[in-house]
C-alpha cells in the first residue's frame, strides 16, 4: 500500500502512540503520521498539511472530537478524507452523533489491531 498520510487527534500522547502502532500492525507500515493534542491543533495542522486519513478521539478538553469534525466539514478542510472516531463512548446515540457530524467510521476503546484494520482499511481503499 502506498504511503498514507495520517492525522491522529487525541489529547493523550500515549493513545496517539497506541493508535499509530495499531495502524502499522493493520498494514500501514509506511504511513506518515501527524499528531494533534486537541481539535484546535488538528484544524491548524490541516490548514498546513494534506492528509489521507483522520482518526480522532471524542472526549477531549477545549474542543471535543465532534466539534472538531463539524468545524472540519464547515471549513471544508480535508474534503473527501475519511474520518474515524476512536472513543470510549459506545452507545448507538454516540455513534449516530458521530456519523451525523460527518464521520465515516467508529472504533470503540479498547480495541485490537484487527478491529482497526477492519474499520480503517476499507475507507482508505474507497477514498
Amino acid at each position: 500500500m502506498s504511503e498514507v498520510r495520517t492525522l491522529i487527534v487525541d489529547d493523550s500522547s500515549v493513545m496517539r502512540k497506541i493508535v499509530e502502532r495499531a495502524l502499522r500492525q493493520a498494514g500501514l507500515e509506511t504511513m506518515v503520521v501527524h499528531e494533534a493534542g486537541s481539535g484546535v491543533e488538528g484544524l491548524d495542522l490541516l490548514r498546513a498539511k494534506q492528509v489521507d486519513l483522520i482518526l480522532s478521539d471524542i472526549n477531549m478538553p477545549s474542543m471535543d472530537g465532534l466539534e472538531f469534525l463539524r468545524q472540519l466539514r464547515a471549513q471544508n478542510l480535508a474534503p473527501g478524507v475519511p474520518v474515524v472516531m476512536i472513543t470510549t463512548e459506545s452507545s448507538e446515540e454516540h455513534v449516530k452523533q458521530a456519523i451525523l457530524a460527518g464521520a465515516q467510521g467508529y472504533i470503540r476503546k479498547p480495541f485490537t489491531a484487527e478491529q482497526v484494520k477492519e474499520r480503517v482499511l476499507p475507507l482508505i481503499h474507497a477514498a
Binding site: 502512540k17 459506545s90 452507545s91
Partner: protein
Amino acid sequence: MPVSLRESLQLVSDPKNLDATVEEVFKMMLGIDCRRDSQPAVIEPDSVTAVVGFGGLLSGACLFKSGNHTAMKIAAQMTGMEFTEVDDTVKDGIGEICNMLAGAWKGKVPDLAANCGLSIPAVITGRDYNLHVQAPEFKLVHSYRFGDASFDVTIICDGLQ
C-alpha cells in the same frame, strides 16, 4: 419515556461486569492476562490514582489505584518505553486506562452507556492520601493481579436516577 437506572440497579452493580471490563481492557490494549485477586493489591506508599467521573443518570466515579512500580509497568506495556519514574507519560497512560475502564464498564449496561457521560481523566500522585465519598449508593472495590503487579479498581456510585 424517561429512562431510570434504579430498576436495573442489580445489573449496574453486578461485580462480574467490573471483572469482565478489567480483563477486556488489559487483554485488548496491553496483551496482558489480568485476573481478579482475592488478596488486596500491594500498593507502595508512593502511588498513582486516576479518576474518571460519571455524570447523567448515574453520578460517581471510576478509580484506578496502583503503586508506582505497577503504574510504570503498565505504561511501559502501552508505549514500548521504559520508565524509572512516574513522569507525565506514565500519568497520561494511567489516565487513559482509567478512561477505558470507565467507558467499557458503563458500556456493559445499555441504558447506562447511553445516559451517562464521562469526565476527562484526572491523575493524582504522591503518598498518604485518601479519597472519601459519603454514603455511596453502591461501591465496588476489586483487586487485580498480573505477574508481580497488582492494582485496585473502584466504582463509586453516589447517585442513581
